[in-house]
């Protein structure tokens, strides 16, 4: 098993003046070179946990070790190893993107030439090169998000923490960001990823922790966690027009539920899945459908069943 980069034990956080535990007795490790996904609904305690791991927030009790260093006693040591994607860009809001990325790289110990090289490369990769001399706080939300990503990327820290890295981004640039994260991971960077975008994140996450109401509800590889949830195959059908015969027909295939009047989902057992698919193709036919999908349990199902279901619904 790879060495632990982060090791958190019995981590509990209660904010001053608040009885509720934002984090409640969390114990887990993040291993070297892995992409660790932290999933959970709003208010689950993910940001509190990340702030403590990044040394920005002192735990009420429990311990955090980063490469063996006691983060609670020496929070300033975290900056030598970890790059945290800033939540906002206010600290450097009046800088131009290239200035903010360059200076951040220099603070992290890059030489002037290397900081300039990485700045140029990141601006190109993240489609920010054309912005030129426009202050960061004058950019669109998506562009500001890309700048915060570049601020985390620059300087090649061995550990990187991202909080909702693809929110506010268009599909094309989202793909670029996911590819960048995968490329960093292939080079050995340990990545902690906090996200709601479970479907996209599933492609890169190697181990996952699901947090709900401050507690760690599940921890393991996506495969291990998927094995713990409903194993039925899900058929999703999007009819071209309203079809009054659909409910009765779909109910015969399995547990059918309408998502909208024309959009249906059917849960059927794995053994009977082939028959169900044949019936959809034979009795309904692809001509009557705009879309037809066959889905096995996903990380999103795990997330919905173990963590986020109640609050996301």
């Amino acid at each position: 098993m790879p060495a632990a980069v982060y090791s958190a034990k019995h981590l509990t956080k209660i904010y001053p003046g608040n009885d509720r535990k934002a984090n409640d007795d969390l114990t887990f490790e993040i291993h070297e070179g892995e992409v660790f996904g932290l999933l959970g609904p709003n208010g689950a305690g993910k940001s509190t946990l990340v702030s403590q791991l990044a040394g920005l927030l002192k735990p009420t009790s429990g311990s955090i070790r980063l490469y063996g260093i006691d983060v609670v006693a020496h929070p300033e040591a975290v900056a030598d190893y970890v790059a945290l994607q800033p939540q906002g860009s206010s600290a450097v809001g009046d800088l131009y993107p290239h200035e903010a990325i360059y200076h951040t790289g220099r603070f992290r110990g890059l030489t002037s030439a290397e900081a300039r090289r990485q700045t140029g490369a990141l601006l190109e990769e993240l489609n920010l090169a054309a912005i030129g001399r426009r202050a960061i706080n004058q950019l669109s939300g998506g562009q500001r998000k890309l700048v915060t990503l570049a601020l985390a990327f620059v300087g090649d820290r061995p550990v990187m923490i991202f909080d909702e890295p693809t929110n506010e981004l268009d599909p094309e640039i989202r793909r670029v960001v996911w590819e960048k994260l995968q490329a960093l991971n292939r080079r050995g960077t340990t990545i902690l990823l906090v996200t709601h975008n479970v479907l996209e994140a599933e492609r890169v996450i190697q181990r996952v922790g699901i947090v709900s109401q401050g507690r760690l509800m599940a921890l393991g590889t996506p495969g291990e966690l998927k094995a713990r949830v409903d194993q039925r195959v899900r058929l999703e059908l999007l009819f071209k027009t309203d079809d009054e015969t659909a409910p009765a027909m779909l109910a015969r295939l399995g547990e059918a539920r309408p998502l909208t009047r024309r959009h249906w989902t059917v849960l059927c057992h794995r053994e009977g899945a082939r028959d169900s698919i044949d019936q959809v193709l034979g009795r309904i036919g692809l001509d009557r459908l705009d879309d037809f999908r066959i889905l096995t349990p996903s990380l999103e199902d795990v997330y919905l069943q173990l963590g986020g279901g109640a609050k996301l619904a």
Partner: protein, 268 residues
């Protein structure tokens, strides 16, 4: 506070620090100054104007009230208003900046970089001084012209200005460290300005102040900064000026050490 270089001495650390960049305090000071200066690209004229207009107004007011102005009185007024210019400009700016940074959590960015809060405060003080300089020069030049003072010894003020600014901003940063948000910082900044304007011997000579206030005034840097400015303006470069400088250096060191201990940009 732990030693900044502690990481290198810890025996049980599995991996050595990726970059020993914490050691480059001078470079960090310069770089933070550049980053913070950029924040005032669009507002530096307003900031400068703010540090200039109030003291100049006070000079006008005193000149109007005190028609038979002696040179000694003119030196007192101008010396006091130079300090007011620093208090209204750099100190308010620093305190508000700390409060605002807390409110919008922009310290999170700095806390995730290997730079120390003290270096940030020193850089912010330098930025404040740079923004205050045009106003200070304007107050000095206009004050000398209005009050009929010679500008012959003006260059001697230059070494005193950063010293006065650093000792004052040290106090400002220390108080700002108690500000949880912009509103609290604003209240504290206004309290400092009220104190500087009316409760220390900036506008009112020490001997005319109530005894308790005289004792308090002896503990704050504005008193010695104003005395120093007045000595230079009057051409008195004797032991009195040396004493003011010594006390300012001491107060600067004490306040910056206090800032180093108190200003923690990590949340509780």
């Amino acid at each position: 506070m732990p030693d900044a270089n502690f990481v290198y001495d810890v025996k049980d650390v599995a991996v050595q620090p990726y970059s020993p960049s914490r050691r480059r305090s001078v470079e960090h000071f310069w770089r933070i100054t550049l980053v913070l200066l950029a924040d005032y690209r669009s507002t530096w004229t307003i900031q400068t104007f703010f540090g200039f207009v109030m003291p100049l107004g006070m000079i006008y007011l005193f000149k109007y009230i005190d028609s038979g102005l002696t040179q000694e009185r003119a030196v007192f007024i101008l010396g006091g208003n130079l300090v007011t210019s620093i208090a209204y400009g750099p100190v308010m700016l620093l305190m508000n900046r700390i409060g605002w940074s807390r409110q919008i959590r922009s310290f999170d960015y700095w806390a995730n970089l290997p730079v120390s809060p003290l270096t940030w405060v020193l850089a912010m003080s330098a930025v404040s001084l740079l923004l205050a300089l045009p106003g200070l020069i304007a107050v000095y030049v206009m004050g000398c012209l209005l009050l009929g003072l010679s500008m012959a010894g003006g260059l001697a003020l230059l070494p005193l200005i950063p010293l006065a600014t650093l000792s004052l901003t040290g106090v400002g940063a220390f108080l700002g460290a108690y500000a949880k948000n912009y509103q609290v910082a604003n209240v504290l900044a206004n309290a400092v300005v009220g104190f500087v304007s009316f409760l220390s011997p900036i506008m009112i000579p020490m001997e005319h102040m109530p005894a308790p206030m005289q004792w308090i005034a002896r503990l704050v840097p504005t008193t010695y900064a104003a005395d120093g400015f007045r000595s230079v303006l009057a051409g008195n470069f004797g032991p009195g000026l040396a004493y003011d400088i010594l006390i300012l250096v001491l107060l600067m060191v004490v306040s910056l050490v206090a800032v180093h201990q108190k200003l923690n940009w990590r949340a509780a």
